[in-house]
């Protein structure tokens, strides 16, 4: 391997230098020597046992069912021909079908075993291993070798994509590209969690983790390297900026160059931005997480939202960041906008192989929404709020009860938060320090983050009680209010200041409008206004407002005029579904009487749609939300 040039040098150099950038170069390689420096001894070892291996492979090969062999050959052909529809079908259904049938509880055959079927094609074998390890992680329990080898395989894949001469001609479906990045980060997270559990490690594992290689594998720097390399290679940020400006496809292609104009690199670049968002959240760096997203527009119109899993992940992590920034309004708007979408498309994606995963994330977002609602009740989307009350009604009522509600906050947070990780391994390289580590382990990352969150909650514990008292009056002497609440007057006045602060928030809802205070509630879908995700304007988040004149508290309340939009949207959508259902159903037999029922007059969620898939939503439905 040639010398490692750190990016801050590379950036100033001419563009042609960049073509030679190595995966490990983009961020420099701090104290982690090459991943493959030990390749030589390994090859020698391989030679010694080569003969036995060939025989073992032959035996294993004979065990592979014919259906699987045919599938692999077919899959291989689809990939060499860049036949996207065939690749998609093999990837999304063929692989899963074969897994269910033959490999539900065991590994797929090793890549070396199936190599003869695919002409020993190195690229196909890398992709095959990608799937092989993903299966190990999701269905079985990966051992230390799996963890190391899956990392090496990912590096090989990324090296091929980033360091071939020019962009590769390979094409893969967007969904797979997302899964590659998503899985890479998942395995990183999984490794970090596994690595931190010292007491479960065997001596052999400890000695492997103590080596140079063990210490450098799955390091934060190497993971960030990969993501930043894709972002830079694809010029995705330049692409997003150009797209925002409305430039023509031709002009955009000129800007993003030979890599960025290819679908494969553009999507990998975009998914890497979302990947960075996720990695930064896992490490507790919420501002940086939102900052890397600064060129991404959060709306449902871009082509990048075609991969639902990516779309959902983006909103989950962005919403979570807002919550930790105490921007509860932005957080709930983010969750509402994606949960509404999921609700609309649930008839589609129930067939997706990722349905379960998406549903789990959605349920977490309902829980996070419940937290945000408890901290900043204001006006919210009725439909989502009703669903939250159905799922988390009990927690919602506990969370409004001051001190005793803290436990409900904690439970929901721990259930719904990302799987936080620590950036650094335990001191495997020194046994005495390791023993010290085991004796007094540092707090789990999730515990640290929940405690920080709870300190925010604790600071405004008195808010719900105070608010409910103030609702009863238009003006009131502070001393009298203190008497009601069994408090000292001074302490009560301090809590009033906290109440005031809790009813103000920085929010993106305030952007765009001229008067910040018009932006109450969820009128503009999150992300529709200009500016990065960290931007915002101070808004009032509560209908109840007050001011103190020396010792007299004056209270005013905004009331809401009757709302129609949500009701009309839901029922129009329902009518559309009924209409589509009727249109798509077979002609009725003469004696059939089962016409779909008319929508209920009440403001309730519509009944599930009929069997037929909904072909399109109401054109204007997706972007309008009840104020």
């Amino acid at each position: 391997m040639s010398h490692r040039m750190p990016l801050w040098n590379a950036e100033t150099d001419a563009d042609d230098e960049l073509v030679e950038v190595d995966v490990n170069l983009a961020l420099g390689n701090y104290g982690q020597n090459g991943l493959y420096d030990d390749a030589q001894p390994r090859i020698d070892e391989t030679t010694l046992v080569a003969a036995q291996q060939i025989m073992a492979h032959q035996a294993a090969f004979a065990q592979i069912p014919d259906g699987v062999k045919r599938f692999i050959v077919h899959f291989y052909q689809a990939i060499t021909e860049n036949n996207l529809p065939e690749i998609t079908s093999a990837y999304e259904s063929g692989w899963n079908r074969m897994t269910e049938k033959f490999y539900a509880k065991t590994e797929w055959p090793e890549a070396e075993v199936i190599a003869p079927l695919v002409n020993d094609d190195p690229i196909f074998l890398i992709l095959y291993r990608e799937l092989y390890y993903r299966h190990v992680y999701s269905r079985l329990s990966p051992n230390i070798d799996d963890r190391f080898h899956s990392y090496e395989n990912s590096c090989e894949l990324f090296n091929y994509l980033l360091n071939s001469e020019g962009p590769v001609t390979l094409e893969l479906p967007d969904q797979w590209l997302w899964d590659i990045i998503d899985e890479f980060i998942y395995q990183f997270q999984s490794f970090c969690l596994w690595r931190s559990k010292v007491h479960q490690k065997s001596d052999e594992e400890i000695s492997m983790l103590a080596t140079e290689e063990g210490a450098s594998q799955w390091s934060c720097y190497s993971v960030l390297n990969v993501l930043y390399s894709f972002i830079q290679k694809s010029k995705i940020n330049e692409y997003l900026v150009a797209q925002k400006k409305g430039l023509s496809q031709e002009d955009i292609n000129d800007i993003v160059g030979e890599y960025g104009s290819k679908q494969l690199y553009r999507m990998l670049g975009y998914f890497s931005v979302v990947g960075l968002l996720r990695v930064h959240v896992l490490l507790g760096d919420y501002t940086l997480a939102l900052k890397v997203m600064e060129n991404v527009e959060l709306n449902q119109k871009t082509s990048f939202t075609r991969v639902t899993a990516c779309h959902v992940a983006t909103y989950y992590y962005v919403g979570f960041c807002y919550m930790t920034l105490k921007r509860y309004t932005d957080a709930s708007r983010t969750f509402v906008s994606i949960l509404n979408l999921l609700f609309r498309i649930k008839n589609y994606h129930s067939r997706s192989y990722q349905y379960d995963q998406i549903n789990k994330t959605a349920d977490r977002m309902y829980a996070l929404f419940a937290i945000c609602y408890a901290l900043s009740p204001g006006r919210h989307d009725d439909q989502i709020l009703n669903m939250v009350k159905e799922r988390y009604g009990e927690q919602l009522s506990r969370m409004s009860r001051g001190e005793e509600g803290l436990q409900a906050f904690e439970e929901l947070f721990l259930y719904a938060c990302p799987k936080f990780i620590t950036a650094n391994p335990p001191p495997y390289r020194s046994l005495p320090l390791l023993a010290q580590f085991v004796n007094s382990p540092p707090p789990e990352p999730a515990q640290r983050h929940v405690q920080l969150f709870l300190s925010d909650v604790r600071n405004q514990l008195s808010v719900p009680t105070l608010r409910s008292f103030l609702k009863l009056y238009t003006s009131l002497d502070a001393r009298k209010l203190a008497g009601f609440l069994d408090e000292e007057e001074e302490g009560m006045v301090e809590k009033m200041m906290v109440l005031k602060q809790a009813s103000r928030s920085i929010s993106r809802a305030g952007l765009g409008g001229t008067n910040a205070h018009q932006g109450r509630g969820a009128q503009v879908p999150a992300g529709e206004s200009e500016g990065g995700l960290l931007d915002g304007q101070t808004i009032s988040t509560s209908d109840l407002d007050f001011v103190i004149n020396q010792n007299m508290v004056h209270i005013s309340e905004s009331t809401v005029g009757r709302r129609y939009a949500g009701w009309f949207i839901r029922n129009t959508e329902y009518a559309q579904r009924v209409y589509d259902g009727v249109k798509n159903s077979p002609l009725p037999l003469p004696r059939s009487t089962t016409a779909p029922a008319a929508p209920g007059a009440k403001d309730v969620a519509p009944a599930p749609a009929p069997e037929a898939p909904v072909k399109k939503g109401v054109a204007w439905g997706a972007n309008v939300k009840a104020a």
Binding site: P6, L7, W8, E11, L27, G28, Y30, Y221, L224, Y228, G284, D285, T287, L288, T324, L325, K326, T422, A423, F437, P442, P443, R448, H449, S455, D456, N459, E490, E494, M496, M497, V498, K500, Q501, R504, G510, H517, V524, G531, G532, L534, D535, G536, Q537, T538, S540, D545, F546, V547, I548, N549, N551, H554, S556, S558, T559, V560, G561, V624, A627
Partner: protein
């Protein structure tokens, strides 16, 4: 201008720092010193740049060997007075990991562990608007090391705390009694009068009047639904 513009990118931030904070250079441990120097510049000149300081903590997170307890304490002191914004907790979120074990016994002990509980308590008092208790704790005997080794170097620390008070009072009051405000600000006599004048509040008969602002002007309104249809 958005309310976060100054926070995201303070006008006092030099171009070099801006490049570091916005690019991948922020991960280069060799740049730690530049960011630390910039922190000390903030300390000396009453400036504040949260994102640049978080970049230091990020470097410490990835490179525990770089860790410097004094720097962390200074970052936290700066973040303390950003209340009610979440800066202090944002810093702590990057901090919690195990610090490197001391190489030998004669290393200077890390000053952070003994001060962190007090800093956290101070932060909570500010977020809970318990200003008189804040001053009481801040001036107490156990916090002498914080005052004598750190905040004394931090230009205008007391005034930054008073700005937290001003933000809270301005939003909640139209008029406030002199004694109450004096307790909040920990000022009396001449100092109190000149502080009140500096923020353009008026003092009359032991009552301070706070000029109307978007947060202390309340009115009952009826909110109507406002639906915008996107045009194709």
């Amino acid at each position: 201008m958005s309310a976060t513009a100054t926070w995201v990118s303070p006008s006092t931030r030099p171009e070099l720092i801006d490049e570091l904070v916005s690019g991948v250079d922020r991960y280069n441990p060799a740049n730690g010193g530049i960011l630390e120097d910039y922190l000390y510049h903030q300390i000396r000149s009453q400036e504040y740049d949260c994102l640049a300081n978080l970049a230091i903590l990020k470097l410490y997170q990835f490179n525990p060997d770089l860790y410097n307890g004094d720097v962390v304490i200074n970052i936290l002191i700066k973040a303390l007075t950003a209340a009610p914004m979440p800066d202090f907790n944002l810093c702590l979120a990057l901090l919690g990991e195990r610090r490197p074990y001391p190489e030998s016994d004669d290393d200077e002990p890390d000053p952070l562990p003994s001060l962190l509980p007090y800093l956290t308590a101070l932060s909570e008092l500010l977020h809970q608007c318990r200003f008189p208790e804040f001053w009481k704790l801040y001036k107490s005997e156990p916090l002498a090391p914080l005052r004598e080794n750190y905040t004394i170097e931090c230009l205008g620390f007391d005034d930054s705390v008073r700005e937290v008070v001003v933000r809270a009072v301005r939003a909640a009051f139209t008029k406030i009694g002199k004694q109450r405000l004096s307790n909040y600000l920990d000022l009396d006599g001449e100092d109190f009068v000149s502080f009140v004048e500096d923020v353009d509040w008026s003092l009359e008969d032991d009552v301070i009047t706070i000029p109307p602002n978007p947060d202390n002007r309340i009115e009952a309104t009826v909110v109507h639904e406002n639906i915008q249809f996107p045009r194709a």
